[in-house]
């Protein structure tokens, strides 16, 4: 399945774009997504463990499955306020 991933702040700067597309096996979970992200953007490597993944506007754990229509985003450590 083809997944679009939204990027913000340092993640967007590292990738040089605000969204990327990845091909994932259907039923893939967040851990599989993380591995695919590092393959696609090697610069994510050392930083991705510090970033969270959101699915449909909720923080997701690594074992959470991703659906073909899920809205997926990388959430670097937040600094609002």
């Amino acid at each position: 399945m083809r997944i679009r991933v939204k990027l913000f702040a340092v993640a967007r700067d590292l990738a040089g774009r605000s969204e990327l597309e990845l091909e994932l096996p259907s039923g893939a979970n967040v851990a599989v997504l993380r591995a695919a992200l590092v393959r696609d953007v090697p610069a994510f490597g050392p930083l991705l463990p510090h970033m969270q993944i959101a699915i449909d506007s909720r923080y997701a754990t690594d074992d959470e499955p991703i659906g073909p229509h899920s809205e997926v985003a990388i959430i670097p450590p937040v600094s609002g306020g």
Partner: protein, 140 residues
Amino acid sequence: MTQLTDNPIDTQAVLAAVATPAAGAVVLFLGTTREFTDGRQTTALDYEAYRPMAEKTLSDLAEEARRRWPIEKLCIVHRLGHVPLGEASVAVAVSTAHRAAAFEAGQWLIDSLKESVPIWKKETWAVGGTEWVHPGMEPK
């Protein structure tokens, strides 16, 4: 009421949003943009959000605060985009019957906002260069 805005925060409107005769206490917290961080001088701050998730997370926090404290009204406004030095980037206002709950709920709301709402701040340093602020992550 929770809101993201691209405009300066109208603190009188924030106070008006929590005004009610049922309240004996109103606490207003403003987060303002600071010029110096650990001795480094900033000339500008810019905020960006993952808007749909930030809106959802803010309203989840408001709901949770209402479960924990007897809140009459609450209002959270976060400003996005360019925020000049000294201006408010965030406002949290809570009204309650008695002051202890207003202080506690206000503190909990701003602390929780800073931990979980997907909003990011970028510093523009006086010596040149910009940097996203990502607590706990090494600068790139």
